[in-house]
Symmetry: C2
Subunit: 346 residues, 2 copies
């Protein structure tokens, strides 16, 4: 009951989000024969009898991960499922079940939670996962959603399998979710000043949808299977391209050249970046929440994917000693640094 | 962005915690062949190849489920694991893995989280489960812990299997965790008035430990196996005996006579109830967090358990039309009503 005021205090922001879970669990032992992979990838891999399953979990916190002033609850429910399914797909697995827990303050009426669960139900039906459990409790402030996803996998793909000379490939396009967020934040400020102003969001429909209603790339996993391409490593892009490239390189012990002119950008991302006077490459590198898949393939698989509009080869894996660099349009080589989400900043 | 002020608003407290998850998920379909049991028991049951696994998840919220002014973080970490393992044991399963996610405000230094994870590590080692995943994020206020537990099961036991004429059995003793909480709350008030007062907690060590460091009844599951007793139904006591009896009876479509004089109480619970001038039966019925196992067995199994000090026969299952009653020491019959935790009260 008596607090020691002289205890050592290290701020969480000194460590950063990525380091924290690793730091806290670094001494944890794995003893179960059914555990193939614990902490450190997009999901854990377990093996029961001859079936391998993956397990991934995420928390979404109001005021940190979402703002209900522009995020409809139905979309939030949908997105909270997508965030987790994306991790399952990033293991080359197929999701089968989820559990959904919420902590919610009394300011939310039942009808708000019905909207949230309608979004969860829509996502579960569309991605063919069963909602098999959960917990509901009150919170002192705001809304928090915790989703755990389970999937089946035949050939799991880890972050650690990239080889020198592999090609770096990304699905879809990048930066949209982040720029959608910028537009929504701007309109929120406008709305505060003049609630009668009707914003024209027509020029931003794609990027706003990327922010409010992302889709996990179920189709890409199916596509890779159909094309008979087995990625050597894979991760989903939740924190931004730079940060995910660093994860792949560090865990695979390789380096990487990323080509700026190959990074796929939607025209709406480019035009909105111009409007906001932000460099679109910076956004693609550091904007999060695109939920695209980033993976490496051996060069012999290149012919199988090169014609595909959903996939872009954006880089080349090198020896670890070469480091990780962005090769700019002007042929400059800039070291890749993680920005990602800095949730623990003061 | 524009809130409809005329929307229908049903307060969450009108529905109660038990009704909420059922209400929100009642239309959800189960489509996966690997899903044997979804929402509605202590854990979901999944089947991969020939192995059945169970999955259970719980949220613990600061200010709702715990108070850090008397709950040391190491104990909290330990307890957050126990709460989930208890659900796994209540399915007659053996836990194998857990994931642990936390949302935490910046007021917590790293050292506080290290304490929390030390408790998690101790629990995981003692109960032989691997910590295989998790998420850490910031919160706007306080600490929230979300744990998901996975276990293996050969013969799962549902809440729904109790039969007329079965015996109702409980492990350990009841009411301790709740009375421990009352003592801690009282000492907190004393401390606020006089921080130099050193409380004498010696008379309350057992009940305080029941509150701060509960143990999931791994030993009881092993004992039942050793005794060759297969419970017909089972649930863990997290919300209070009344509420769990109601779950068993409703899901099994049976009634129940519960005998007041058979309810196991520790002498410390009895003496502390006298000191607080509370009826100990009321506490056993409605105090939560004992994490004992409540189960039914067929009468022919009675000889196997009757000599066991860890198990008490406290009741008898009847036809559903007979209802659920507490049979008092004075032979009065009082209908059993759920109290449980009322987290959504205003």
């Amino acid at each position: 009951m008596i607090e020691d005021k002289n205890q050592q205090r290290t701020k969480l922001s000194d460590l950063g989000e990525f380091g924290l879970i690793d730091h806290l669990t670094k001494n944890f032992k794995l003893n179960q024969p059914s555990t193939l992979k614990g902490i450190g990838d997009d999901a854990a891999v377990l093996k029961f009898d001859n079936k391998k399953i993956v397990v991934s979990t995420d928390l979404l916190v109001e005021g940190v991960h979402f703002d209900l002033s522009y995020m409809p609850l139905k979309h939030l429910g949908y997105k909270s499922v997508m965030v987790n399914l994306s991790d399952v797909y990033a293991m080359n697995a197929v999701p089968t079940q989820i559990t959904v827990s919420i902590a919610v303050s009394n300011r939310f009426p039942l009808e708000a939670l019905e909207d949230l669960y309608a979004g969860i139900e829509t996502a579960a039906a569309l991605y063919n996962v069963d909602v098999v459990g959960g917990d509901t409790t009150s919170s002192n402030k705001g809304l928090l959603i915790s989703v755990t996803a389970i999937g089946e996998v035949e050939h799991e793909v880890y972050r650690s399998g990239a080889k020198v000379n592999d090609l770096l490939v990304v699905s879809g396009d990048l930066g949209g979710a982040f720029m959608g967020l910028q537009v929504l934040e701007r309109e929120k400020e406008v709305y505060k000043v003049n609630p009668n102003n009707q914003p024209d969001l027509e020029p931003y429909t794609y990027i706003i949808e990327r922010q409010l209603k992302p889709e996990a790339r179920k189709d890409v996993i199916q596509l890779l299977k159909d094309l008979d391409v087995k990625p050597t490593s894979m991760i989903d892009i939740s924190d931004g391209l730079s940060s995910e490239i660093i994860h792949l390189c560090k865990q695979s012990n390789v380096g990487c050249d990323l080509y700026e002119d190959k990074i796929p950008l939607d025209p709406q991302v480019i035009s909105t970046c111009e409007e906001f006077n932000i460099d679109s490459t910076t956004i693609a590198l550091n904007g999060g929440e695109d939920y695209e898949l980033l993976f490496t393939i051996s060069q012999e698989d290149f012919p199988k994917i090169k014609a595909n509009p959903s996939l872009s080869v954006i880089g080349f894996m090198k020896d670890a000693s070469a480091g990780m660099h962005l090769v700019t349009r002007g042929d400059a080589r800039i070291p890749i640094k993680a920005q990602g989400w800095k949730n623990f900043n003061d």
